[in-house]
Symmetry: C2
C-alpha cells in the first residue's frame, strides 16, 4: 500500500478550509525571511499558496542579507504583541550574524507554528499538550489517516536531528510506542531495522534503507531528502522495498506534502488556543 501524502494533505486542507469558513476564523501567519536563499523563497511561496487556499492571511517581512539581529528581534516582539497575528515563522536558514536558536526562541510559544520554542519542546518532553513540529505531526497524522495505531508498536527512527528524529522520538513515546533511535554511531542498523513494525528514516542519506533491512509487512516512512543531479532522492530504496512491506510512503509525495499541511493545521490549533486562553 502506498501512503499518499498528497491525497491526505488535500483532505486535511479541505476540512480546514471548510472549518475556517464555517466558524469565520480570522487567522494570520507572519513569515520572516532574512537574506535571499532561493530554496527559502520556494518554501515560503508554497506556504503562502496553501494559506491562501484555506483562507489564512499571510504577511511576509523580507530583510536583506546583512540585516542586524536586533531588527529581526524587534519585529518578532512587535508581532508577539499584535493580537491580529496568529502565528510567526522565522524562515531557516538565516545569515550568520543572526543566532537562529536564540531569535526563533523569542517567538511567543502561543504563536510558534513550527513547534520548536523552548516551551513547546519542554511540553513535548513532559508529554503535555504542545504544538508539534510540522514534520513530526505530519508523520503521525499520515499514519493515523490510514488507521495505523502506534501504541505498543516497535518503532525505529534513523536519524536524531532536532527537526525530525529527536522530537519524533519523544512524540512517539508519548503515543506509547517503543522507540529506538539509530544514528551514525549505531553499530548495526540492520539488527534494529529488521525488527521494526514501523521504520522511519530521517537520515538524509540516499537509498540507505534496502529491502533486506526491513521486516515483512512492516510500515516504512521515508523522511530523508537528498538532492542528486537535481533530483530528490529519499532514504529508502523505494522500488525494491515497496514489494516487501505492508505500507510505504513515496518520496517525494509522502511526508513532504504532510509537513506543509501541518503548518496550516498548527495555525488552526494556535487560533483555538488563543480563543480559549
Amino acid at each position: 500500500m502506498i501512503l499518499d501524502g498528497k491525497i491526505v494533505r488535500d483532505k486535511i486542507l479541505d476540512e480546514i478550509k471548510e472549518k475556517i469558513k464555517r466558524e469565520d476564523l480570522k487567522i494570520k501567519l507572519a513569515i520572516i525571511l532574512v537574506g535571499d536563499n532561493e530554496a527559502s523563497k520556494i518554501y515560503i511561496k508554497n506556504k503562502e499558496k496553501y494559506c491562501d487556499y484555506v483562507g489564512i492571511e499571510t504577511i511576509k517581512y523580507t530583510f536583506t542579507n546583512n540585516t542586524p539581529e536586533s531588527e529581526v528581534i524587534e519585529l518578532i516582539k512587535k508581532l508577539n504583541n499584535d493580537i491580529s497575528v496568529t502565528g510567526i515563522i522565522l524562515q531557516s536558514p538565516v545569515p550568520h550574524q543572526i543566532d537562529f536558536d536564540k531569535v526563533s526562541n523569542l517567538i511567543d510559544s502561543n504563536k510558534d507554528v513550527d513547534g520548536f520554542t523552548k516551551d513547546n519542546i519542554y511540553n513535548l518532553y513532559l508529554g503535555k499538550e504542545t504544538i508539534l513540529p510540522c514534520t513530526v505531526k505530519g508523520i503521525i497524522k499520515l499514519l493515523e489517516a490510514y488507521n495505523f495505531s502506534l501504541e505498543g508498536k516497535d518503532i525505529v527512527i534513523i536519524g536524531r536531528g532536532n527537526i525530525v528524529g529527536h522530537p519524533l522520538s519523544l512524540a512517539l513515546q508519548n503515543k506509547n510506542a517503543t522507540v529506538t533511535v539509530l544514528h551514525t554511531y549505531t553499530k548495526d542498523l540492520e539488527k534494529y531495522t529488521k525488527e521494526a513494525d514501523i521504520l522511519i528514516s530521517a537520515a538524509g542519506c540516499a537509498h540507505l534503507v534496502k529491502d533486506y533491512m526491513v521486516k515483512n509487512n512492516s510500515i516504512v516512512i521515508d523522511v530523508g531528502v537528498s538532492r542528486i543531479d537535481g533530483k530528490i532522492i529519499g532514504d529508502v530504496d523505494f522500488d525494491k522495498v515497496k514489494d516487501k512491506v505492508f505500507a510505504i510512503t513515496p518520496n517525494p509525495g509522502g511526508i513532504g506534502p504532510m509537513t506543509v499541511a501541518m503548518i496550516i493545521d498548527n495555525l488552526v490549533e494556535l487560533k483555538e488556543r488563543s480563543k480559549n486562553g
Copy 2:
C-alpha cells in the same frame, strides 16, 4: 564485577572535598522542605551530611503542610537573587496546594541542582552543556568510573519517567549510544533486553529483570526501588543475574549513593558556572 556505588561515591566526594579546600570555594545549598514527609526528612539529612563532609554550607527552610504556594515562590525568588546561594533544591513531594512543576521551574537554571528546570532540560534536548539530573549523571559517572564507554553501545532503558528514563535516554543519545526506551506498553521486553550491551532498569518493579532476559557479558544497572516489607528491592534479580553478566550494580549500594554524590558534583559545577558567567 560488582559496580560499587559507595566506593565511587566516596572517591568523588574526597576529590571534591580536596578541590573545595584547595580553591577555597564558598558553596551554599538552600533546601526547601514543605510539609512533614518522613522520607523527605531522611533524604534531606543525607544531603546535609555529605555537604557538610565536603565543606558545602547548607541552609534549610522548613514550611508547614498548609503553606500557600505564594510563600514558597517568594522564597525561591529571594534565593535566586542571593549571590551567596549556589544551588536551590525544592524537596519533592510537596503538598497538593503547591504545583511542583511550576514552582520548581522558578528556580534559576544556574542554581538548579536537580537539573529539572525548563532551561536545563531544553539544553539536554539540544545536546548542549547542561546540569544533568542527579540520577542520570550518577549512572553515567559510575560507568565512566569503571572505564566503560558509551559510544555506539546498544543501551536499553526500562522506564520512561521524567526523573530517570526520559532524561537518561537524551543524555545517553548525546553520548552517541543507540538507545531504546521500554515501558508498560512494550510488547516484548525480552526481545530488547537480551540484545542490550548495557541494560538500565528504572521501572520500580521488584525483580522484573531475570537472568534469561539479559545478554551474556553485558552490563546491568539497577535504578529501581520497591519497598516490600520494609526492605528495598531493586528491579533486577541480582543473585541470579550477577553470574551471567560482566558487570552489575547492587541495589541498594549502586546508583543510590551515586545520586547523592551528584548533588554535590552539580553544586560544584554550578559554582564554576557562576564564576565564569
